[in-house]
Symmetry: C2
Amino acid sequence: MRLRLTATLLAFATTVAFAADAPQKVKSMQEIIDAAPATDWRTLDPANTLYMQLATGRVVIELAPDFAPEHIANIRTLAKEGYWNDLAIIRSQDNYVVQWGDPNSDDAAKKKPLGTAKPKLPVEFERKAKGVPFVRLPDRDGWAPEVGFSGGFPAARDPKANKAWLAHCYGMVGAGRDVAADSSDGSSLYVVTGQSPRMLDRNITLVGRVVQGIELLSILPRGTAALGFYEKPEQHVPIKAITLASEVPEAERAQLQLLRTDSQTFTTLVESRRNRRDEWYKRPSGHIDLCNVPLPVRAAPSATKPAG
Amino acid sequence: MRLRLTATLLAFATTVAFAADAPQKVKSMQEIIDAAPATDWRTLDPANTLYMQLATGRVVIELAPDFAPEHIANIRTLAKEGYWNDLAIIRSQDNYVVQWGDPNSDDAAKKKPLGTAKPKLPVEFERKAKGVPFVRLPDRDGWAPEVGFSGGFPAARDPKANKAWLAHCYGMVGAGRDVAADSSDGSSLYVVTGQSPRMLDRNITLVGRVVQGIELLSILPRGTAALGFYEKPEQHVPIKAITLASEVPEAERAQLQLLRTDSQTFTTLVESRRNRRDEWYKRPSGHIDLCNVPLPVRAAPSATKPAG
């Protein structure tokens, strides 16, 4: 029934198909992932993981200290000191971003103090390409000389200029700023919830990616003020807490693993998405955009069961 | 207060900025749009406009008969005969699509009859490029030899093969199908609500675009069954009616105009988005992806006021 239903409508992604004129079985995305050896998975580092607790559940964010070390140090401090606890999501702009922070950030008398976090940070729009892992996607990109993945994050690179930077794909998290390039302090964060706004690349500091729970943010009602800000304080979506995973007892941590983007399994997966060979697709694209590549996450196999 | 608030967070899009070292004023998107002569706007054709009525409001869809005439003829018939009335939205997959139709489409005994609509339609994945208007975007694209706009829709073209087709950008509406290429009849429709799934281009028939009300669909809870289908019938989102605008009394029609994609204003707008020159942006991209180009819609100026 499930198969009939999905097939009758818009079949996609996970079906296993046999080509009519060839007995060769095409592996589905799930089959490729399921066949990965345990070493192709990495466990989230609690020191680089944030939990955003909403009334509806928990959003898990992986931080990217290789690209924005100063921002991440500040974000760790803000989380440890409970800065975001009882603050709010203040903006949801359709096909663009959801943003959170202090609704009173413009009011010197009312705004929440940053605690021991730094009030001023350096610009971290890009870094030296040398020394950063980079698995290049073979496909051309309009925004950057090279695109690919660095430690699990979608990224771009300019080898001539020796620069690398993170890319604004769906789920990427950045630090809101004012007109001055160096005006972000990590206290106001946003997540991409629409078509990749790559024009923001190297114009604002990206700090990580939502690896679980994005659907708690992407379904929020769109704000009706300019830029999708909520018009009234009562429309703000309360944040119970944002916590660093390393500050949470181990039993309460999200036990998640991410497929290593430098693994053979990931390379196989990307190729299977560049050319969709299941029977539903009549014309494989021979191409994929950086932000169309899935980045698989799974529950960590429990210690009592064999991994994989 | 508004300006301070937005500036402190993630400034974007509509601000008017003066470059610090140059007195030249940079026109905002809104200023470019506001300066358009009345002739740069076109009014929605009621014969090519669908209204989807939900409990939360009305979604307006413009149909694309230049690209999928047989599907659109069937969709007009289905709408006129009230096919979708009291049917439902049955799927919302995060960062992908929302889909609607008959929840019982797989059950021959229960499914709603198509009425006088055709049960079988030809494949309309692409058409001859010759004879179709096409305003080319100067930017390179990974999925097609050329991309641009045709009559207000994002589109692609292969001049050598003399083929043109619509592109799967955010808001585009298509006709769900089974494994067979010619298995769509227009009764099950989907809308793109995430990162452009361009791998679907020329693999399924696109029929139009949501021009107003997409936020009524994009915020729907994500379905938890495979592919984002809702697991239980009570999770389905009821559709009150889908109506062809020409069947609705004129006073009840959405009075909307769309900026002509073959106008000088649109060309100016695209260039202003390819290279963001307002003060917030530190590095103009010199590029835009097809699916990042905004397609402005406005309320039609009332007959009693001068247009423009």
